[in-house]
């Protein structure tokens, strides 16, 4: 029933975090795009369409966060390798810090909301002055 909304939400999360994942992987090791995609695919659900990685790499390179060079390969076609720039390393460090802060805050909220599953005492609850309108309902309130 909520699969469409869920998919949208997941897509937003992926979109927001894929830059960080790519930078982190390239920071760990200089790698070419196919290798990078394989590494991302090892983590479930992080990437659906492989082609979307190329524009992202292009964007990161345009922003001066990564740099590239071509190298011959003994086991396949020539490959374009990506490595971090100093600017990229600096930004990655800041991104990781921000991600950790955000992740801790989110965990706290989720933990707090699931302490005992109760909604407080009856006196704490606001008393509605109108019957709540149902979404997509044609009935009059």
């Amino acid at each position: 029933m909520h699969s469409k909304e869920l998919k949208k939400w997941i897509a937003q999360i992926r979109k927001g975090s894929l830059d960080l994942c790519i930078l982190a992987l390239i920071n760990k090791q200089t790698q070419y795009s196919f290798e990078l995609i394989q590494n991302l695919k090892k983590i479930d659900d992080l990437i659906v369409t492989e082609g979307t990685i190329y524009p992202l790499l292009n964007r990161l390179q345009s922003a001066g966060l990564i740099q590239s060079f071509w190298a011959e390969s003994t086991s396949g076609p020539p490959r374009k390798y990506y490595s971090m720039t100093d600017k990229g390393k600096e930004l990655l460090e800041q991104m990781i810090g921000e991600w950790n802060k955000f992740s801790r805050a989110l965990d706290q909220i989720l933990e707090w909301s699931q302490v005992d599953g109760s909604e407080g005492t009856e006196n704490d609850q606001p008393i509605p002055i109108q019957v709540e309108k149902q979404p997509h309902s044609s009935s009059k309130v």
Binding site: Y32, E50, T52, K80
Partner: protein
């Protein structure tokens, strides 16, 4: 993908294609599928729509272009995007207008004593008048297509807000206007006169009765026509009425066109704040005024303001109505 990356420099385009080709080759080397076709299909499916990510790369490139503010790169990108739709529009319009010329002169050109040379002469002489129509319309159409493409670039359509792009679009419009105006004033009256002469010769060859020659207003420039009308050399009530209307209304209507269409659309585009309904109401209101204005003109050269602002407006309308909303990238 290559076709959709034409806005990028060739070396960059080749590098992107080469990288994707490498991806496909790597995938095929690792594929455990028994069927090569199946393996190719699999990798293409996983790569997704090439047009979509070619557009994303182009959008990133344009984003960079706007940031760096390079005039030359701006103009190269713009004209590269514009060339194909412009060429196609010119070709289609040219064929249609030539067919129209043949249709107009069919009674003369299909007579038994009309040579191929005569037919070709009439067709060639119609080219200046055709150019006068083709240049502004093809420019407007192609500018519209370019703008629509810029708007459809999903992530970074900032290029549309770049003053360097707007200045170039205006310059293209202005050049198209000046060129059209010059051809219309200098070449078209001459070619029309030659056409009349050729047609009369054809009729003579076919032993057809000729009316005494009387110079048509289409055979002289609009300036000369105005002067002739002033001196009362043309006793044509319809032309006189048109001239009067033109004198009385052309300037205020040009102002209206500028204020309510050109400037208003420009403001809407620049602030990125528009409402389709509002725009429709404005155009629906101003449309009849434009038609009235065009209908009562003595000569096509008075289309000058329409060429300048009309091109801009058509382009803008096209972009606004073909604009797609931003969508979340499907990662």
């Amino acid at each position: 993908m290559r076709n959709n990356l034409t806005a990028l420099p060739k070396s960059e385009r080749n590098e992107i294609i080469r990288e994707v080709q490498g991806h496909i080759e790597d995938h095929l080397l690792q594929s455990q599928s028994n069927s090569a076709i199946h393996a190719v299909r699999e990798v293409l499916n996983q790569l997704g729509d090439p047009v979509e990510y070619a557009n994303q790369i182009v959008a990133i490139n344009y984003g960079e272009l706007v940031e760096k503010g390079d005039w030359k790169a701006h103009s190269q990108s713009f004209f590269k995007e514009m060339s194909l739709p412009f060429g196609l529009a010119v070709l289609i319009e040219f064929i249609l207008m030539m067919a129209n010329t043949l249709g107009l002169h069919r009674e003369t050109l299909f007579l038994s004593n009309t040579s191929l040379g005569d037919t070709l002469t009439v067709l060639l002489l119609s080219i200046p008048a055709i150019i006068v129509i083709i240049i502004p319309t093809a420019s407007s159409i192609s500018i519209g297509v370019v703008f629509a493409r810029f708007l459809n670039l999903k992530e970074n359509p900032q290029i549309l807000h770049s003053p360097k792009l707007w200045i170039q679009v205006t310059l293209v419009g202005l050049c198209a206007t000046i060129l059209t105006f010059s051809i219309n004033e200098i070449v078209v009256p001459f070619s029309n006169h030659q056409t009349v002469k050729t047609v009369r010769q054809i009729l003579e060859k076919n032993n057809m009765e000729l009316l005494p020659y009387k110079q048509s207003p289409r055979e002289i420039s609009s300036w000369k026509l105005y002067s002739a009308l002033e001196k009362g050399q043309y006793k044509d009530k319809e032309l006189e009425a048109r001239k009067d209307l033109h004198y009385k209304f052309s300037l205020p209507l040009m102002g209206l066109l500028f204020a309510f269409i050109g400037a208003f659309s420009g403001i809407i585009a620049a602030t990125n704040f528009f409402n389709h309904l509002l725009l429709y109401i404005i155009f629906a209101g101003v449309g009849p005024v434009i038609l009235f204005y065009l209908f009562f003109m003595t000569s096509a050269s008075a289309w000058l303001p329409v060429y300048v602002f009309g091109g801009f407006d058509i382009a803008l309308l096209f972009t606004l109505f073909t604009a797609k909303p931003y969508t979340t990238l499907d990662y």
